[in-house]
Amino acid sequence: MAQTARNRFVCLLLVCVGSLSLCAPTFATDFDALIQSSCIECHGANTETRLDFTTLGKDFDHPESFRKWVRIFDRLKSGEMPPPGETQPSKAVRLKALSFLESELKQANQRSQKTIGRVPSRRLSRMEFEHTLHDLLGIGGDLARHLPPETESGSFDVVAATQEMSSVHVRGLLMAADLALDEAIQLGSRPRMAKREIDYFHSRYIQMWVDRPVRRGGGTIFKTDRDVVTFRGENYVFRSDNNGFRPPVAGRYRITVKAAAHQPRSSITVSLKRQNDRQGESELFAAWDLVGSDYRELSTATYLRPDDYIYVSADELEPARDGRVIYNAKSASTFGGEGVKIRRVTVEGPLETSWPPERTRKLFPGVEWKASTDKRRGRAYEPVLRDSPLEHARAIVSAIAPKAWRREVSDSEIDALVALAKPSLEAKRDFVDSVRIPLRTILVSPGLLFQTGKAGSLDDRALASRLSYFLWRSLPDDELNQLAAEDRLSDHQTLAGQVDRMLADPKHDRFVHEFLDQWLELDTIDATTPDAFLYPEYDDVLRRAMLAETREFFAHLIDKNLSVAHLVESDFTFLNRRLAEHYGIEGVEGEVMRKVQLDPASVRGGLLAHASIAKVTANGTVTTPVKRGNFVLTNLLGLPPKLPPPGVGAIEPDTRGATTIRETLEKHQTLDACAVCHRTIDPPGFAMECFDPVGNFRERYRNSKRVTRETNIGLRFLHKDYKLGLPVDMSGVTENGFEFNGIRDYKTHLRKSKEQIARNVLSKLIAFSTGAEVQFADREEVERILQATKDDGYPLRSLIHHVVASRLFRNR
């Protein structure tokens, strides 16, 4: 030790003596001058600012001081510091200081990445856990809800640094694993799988509601000679459990609906909704257009659990021409409003080819099943064991553990797992119950829950796992595992080939959904609900189409490898009839989302014109340019504005119609303390003012007419209560002086920031795929990828390929 230290000292001395300019840069020579001349006056020992250079640690390997120095570097580099009006350092001093700091910080960061790794061990997010169990066991029920929600930390839920664990998680995991095994192991009597009818027409329950007068809650449906006709959505009279159908077991079911529009004057939607005993709100899982008066037969497959029930719902119904709604009609049969005629609803399933189902058989390899005579446990099947129960237990555990843990599992680990079943087997308890113990252990063990490993480059198994959790949010499949086992995955070409294969697999929808849910905050679409009287057009069917537009658009950019510039402005988008009507675009028929070429004069095109984005950036019934401007800066550009100073109140929205939000925001422009930030934050929001909270294009605000509102639920969608008020001012001037009038103008301006948007998207992809934000030493790699994709306009699929091939992805 001493020897090396002395040698180093001698070397250093020699270099220094040889030439002063070659002397290793030090803090004293390269940075101190800058501090003394330009910083210390405000950032010294007895100053009011939070930064104090006299006490700031200079050990860059210390995480806390490292973080501070990175901030100093960034502010210095951007020219934000020293602020205008203060003593400015000479160009030479500044450059010297910057280059010194850059190289020191990079080296410190690299040292830590080499020894500790870039990404600490991280656990699967609750959604990743759910997908993993789904894929591993061939099931489909909701498991994530048993785990506590992820911490709101301003980053992706997979980012290791902000993840937490507690006994709440552990108990939730145990519960979820138990329920997952309940769903996977189906040994009850073989359910009736053939097609059967939910016979609304002959249902006594339906008849009761047909006969019941309006004032006693009935009268919303009637029967023709063959159909049941309904005039409201979410009509509980159609609950399948009250009309003869509950799913007998968990599994996939095919539901077929034959229906037609009744007295149509416009498009009508018939949909299927799912509800269960646990959750209060229904979930829309299929929706179809009914046009004209022809019957349509429509079909969908979905996963249902025994506590679910479904119902047929009618949406987008217009009241009668005289304005009457079903509740104040004389009778349903003479009511003149739009409705839906339900002819026939059938259910087929569970869609299994054998019983016990394939997933149960797979979980118990080597075990045969025979009909059981002992029905006590609610089981109709019992195992036929060829070997000793312990041997079978070993075979079962050995088959699933390596898949679940994404690595080789040693004999001693298998022994330990099998040993968990042993006391139970020795006590002559049931074989299946006994084997469940090690199975449940596998599902909550750190091997399944954590992405972990040593610093340095990922081995093939770990690479397969990281890749798979990036693009599928779940376990590697057989092909990935095979390639990894043969150490072939790390080959550049093979890896790229796998990325393409994975992006072609339907499982990549999970990546698209969860990446966009968090990046664009689409998961907050239900955080606020617009006033149903001011925005009666907003319903589940529209909400679903809004989300689909953004997801399909983004998936298409990946699919066709199109430039990130499309995120700002694009000559196409994805629509179905409902959303196209919402946008005022003609010629789009049917419920299927498809690519639609936009008119060159359209305000649509690009994320900012998506109704989903208008919705998540709205504040319930009102919009605020501040929130939307902040969204553009933070989520799209990756340049979040600074926090408002303490004690600053939020702006006051006003729907009285006397003042507009622009007038309310005037202070932002006139008060210096506000303007310094708001001249950057507000302009994108001004441009987006042309979209109301549900994404309609507007030139005037909607104001309440103050009609008396009845609070009866179910009535709202039939009532409108608005008139057009003051005009919307959608003009503004950006911080750097670009004048715009409306969203189209603004988009042409925003397009100039293509590189910054690409940098942001790339950084998000890196954080999402690796579980750690871009660090100081990673910046070079980010810039390199940007350079490499610049000429093609930073196309999305290429960005994904570059991320996967990068040092950041290939190393822990």
């Binding site: 911490t151 993840q163 937490e164 507690s166 006994s167 252990t441 009102v622 926090l643």
Partner: protein, 419 residues
């Protein structure tokens, strides 16, 4: 923390079908000297604030002039203290409503980059009381799973929002078959956790020393869960207390904020009387829908941003009046004589308030804070400096002390509030 009431005493008594008042019966049933009733803590938050001019009197002290909202609590005037000038410091967050996360924790700058919440006062207290009761704490919310209760490493405890489920958990015994099944699962759960803990230890040894945080947290979490399972197991053998009330029906309509809140809060006196728990938190929060109250036509959230529009304020006051009435009725139930030596209210500190002082401007200072019951000297409006607020945590320290938990500080406290 050892409580004066013996667990066995409660349990034995709870096997007998009794009507309330409960502890009274217990003492007589046991035929021995009455034991001192336990101290309880109930924390209720209305997340959208309370319109300040309708709540705060202009004058302080015991002769304060009542206000619209305080009129609703007139009957209880000597059973509560209204505080003004209390708040948590540094509550600028990512989103203006992020202070919902910190009302009971006081963690600074909620939701901002790298934010980590800290333990909430109810969980801090629950940890000290341990498993003296079947449920160390009960976490309720009117509409969602979102609660304000956080563990020491900042994990939110999911709230229960269905009164029927809460009632079943507290008062309905499972079938013998279900009990057997649960017992079996618990035993399995413990051996599973043992094995998982061991695996985690091995993995910890294999990973670098800098990289252990998550695995260490998992290990600690497993050990904590094991202890919790052991407690659950111990309680499984004991019958649940029986109450005369019928199981409540859930209200499916999420817009019926008041109905939902009321049916949850109705359960709290039962929980306390049966000593099923001593710590309860309640969040009153609609899902940004138009509450189904006569005369209200806009969302609660929207109305809270009334912008001084008198019509909006009028509607906001309708909602808040109903909420304050819920609270008043809750106090009335607690004030009924029930325990051996008096009223449940005297043993129960009830904090009612909000994480927003002025929701109109998202202002998290000058919080509305009403403390009722708990055996304090009440009847006053205690007004602190509006510009220079006292940390709400100072009051938390007093509340904890009342529970028998002496702590020199809690989160951002600077002392113990006395008034």
């Amino acid at each position: 923390m050892h409580t004066p009431i013996s667990r066995r005493a409660v349990l034995k008594a709870s096997g007998i079908a009794i009507s309330l008042p409960f502890l009274e019966s217990m003492n007589s049933a046991m035929g021995r000297e009455p034991v001192a009733p336990p101290k309880r803590l109930v924390l209720v938050c209305n997340t959208l604030g309370l319109h300040p001019p309708s709540l705060f009197p202009k004058t302080a002290g015991s002769e304060y002039e009542s206000t619209g909202y305080l009129d609703l609590l007139k009957k209880h005037r000597n059973d509560f203290t209204l505080f003004s000038g209390l708040s948590h410091p540094d509550q600028n967050g990512k989103q203006p409503h992020d202070t919902e996360m910190t009302w009971l924790t006081a963690a600074r700058n909620p939701g901002l980059g790298g934010f980590k919440n800290s333990i909430s006062i109810d969980q801090f207290a629950a940890r000290h009381l341990g498993n003296a009761t079947r449920f160390p704490s009960i976490v309720l919310s009117s509409n969602t799973q979102k609660s304000q209760s956080y563990t020491s490493n900042g994990v939110m405890l999911p709230a229960q929002h269905r009164p029927s489920t809460v009632f079943a958990k507290l008062f309905l015994d499972d079938s013998p078959r279900e009990q057997r099944r649960q017992r079996q699962r618990l035993a399995e759960g413990r051996s599973i956790l043992d094995s998982v803990a061991e695996q985690t230890q091995t993995l910890r040894r294999q990973t670098g020393s800098h990289d252990r945080r998550q695995l260490e947290e998992y290990f600690t979490a497993i050990r904590a869960a094991e202890a919790e399972l052991a407690e659950t197991g111990a309680w499984l053998d004991r019958p649940k207390p029986r109450v005369d009330e019928k199981p409540p029906r859930d209200i499916a309509d999420s817009a019926d904020l008041i109905g939902r809140t009321r049916s949850l809060m109705n359960l709290i006196p039962l929980m306390l009387q049966t000593d099923s728990t001593r710590i309860v938190t309640v969040v009153i929060q609609d899902h940004l829908v138009v509450p189904r109250i006569q005369g209200v036509t806009a969302e609660h959230h929207n109305l809270s941003h009334h912008g001084q529009d008198p019509q909006k304020i009028e509607q906001l006051k309708i909602i808040e009046t109903e909420i304050v009435k819920c609270f008043a009725d809750f106090l009335s139930r607690l004030a009924q004589p029930s325990e051996a030596d008096g009223r449940l209210l005297d043993q129960t500190s009830v904090l009612f308030g909000s994480n927003l002082g002025n929701a109109n401007a998202h202002d998290p200072s000058n919080l509305p804070i009403i403390l009722a019951g708990g055996g304090y000297d009440h009847g006053r409006h205690v007004a602190y400096d509006k510009r220079n607020n006292i940390p709400l945590c100072n009051l938390f320290v007093s509340l904890l002390s009342k529970m028998g938990i002496e702590t020199p500080s809690f989160a951002t406290s600077t002392g113990k509030l006395t008034w």
